[in-house]
Symmetry: C2
Subunit: 113 residues, 2 copies
Amino acid sequence: MSEFFHQQKKYYSTIEFAIAHIGGVWKMPILLALRNGPVRYGNLKESIPHISDKMLFTQLKELEERKMVTRHAYVEKPPRVEYQLTDRALKALPILDLLQEYGHYLATEEGCL
Amino acid sequence: MSEFFHQQKKYYSTIEFAIAHIGGVWKMPILLALRNGPVRYGNLKESIPHISDKMLFTQLKELEERKMVTRHAYVEKPPRVEYQLTDRALKALPILDLLQEYGHYLATEEGCL
DNA sequence: TGCTTTACATACCAAAATGTAGGTAACCAT
DNA sequence: ATGGTTACCTACATTTTGGTATGTAAAGCA
């Protein structure tokens, strides 16, 4: 587990680096909401319960910076913007599925489902 | 993605619940350090670079509360305590391996390995 | 007697993540 | 002129997480 740098920040393991891309409360739900193709901002908000505007747009910006999603803005009024998963994000989907399944297993064991 | 409760806390997805068990900076490194069998406190500290006493013991306590590790204290002086993965933690190992691999892929793409 | 070892434990602080509430721009229909 | 639509964006506060430094118990050993 050798450490390395990415944009001035130090990472102690590749797991930590992966988490920097898909971790936090909202990034995975967003990625899952995009798994079937491009979705526009408003529809994303609808399909992710409880997410606030601020969280949605900050996380989308971070995902864009990390090259996990691409942003396509149509020149219309009112505006229309679609977000889409990149190849590197698509490669994360199997992990998200496993995590979902694992969380389901844990919640079942704890009797809260 | 129906929400549910576990010990007074609300979870919006099973992914979030899984992350509550294995997320954060240190839980996964700890779990990986325990993958080959019981390890005592001091050896854990050695095998996880940069971890502080506080982080090691708070995370171990949380992992114990979440039933991800068991604690075995031998009645000796000076004390001797070993930590061991539970079955539910063992089931998380494939995910950790995938995350490690994915982080490695991302770091390679970014050219920082 | 006092120093070492081991596995904690605590107080305090700093940084990061998240939440709440509101505002903006520009066009369109009424 | 007003209000609706859409996709942001900001200020601010709170919560959560992580880091630093230090302290404790109890036996063994010099």
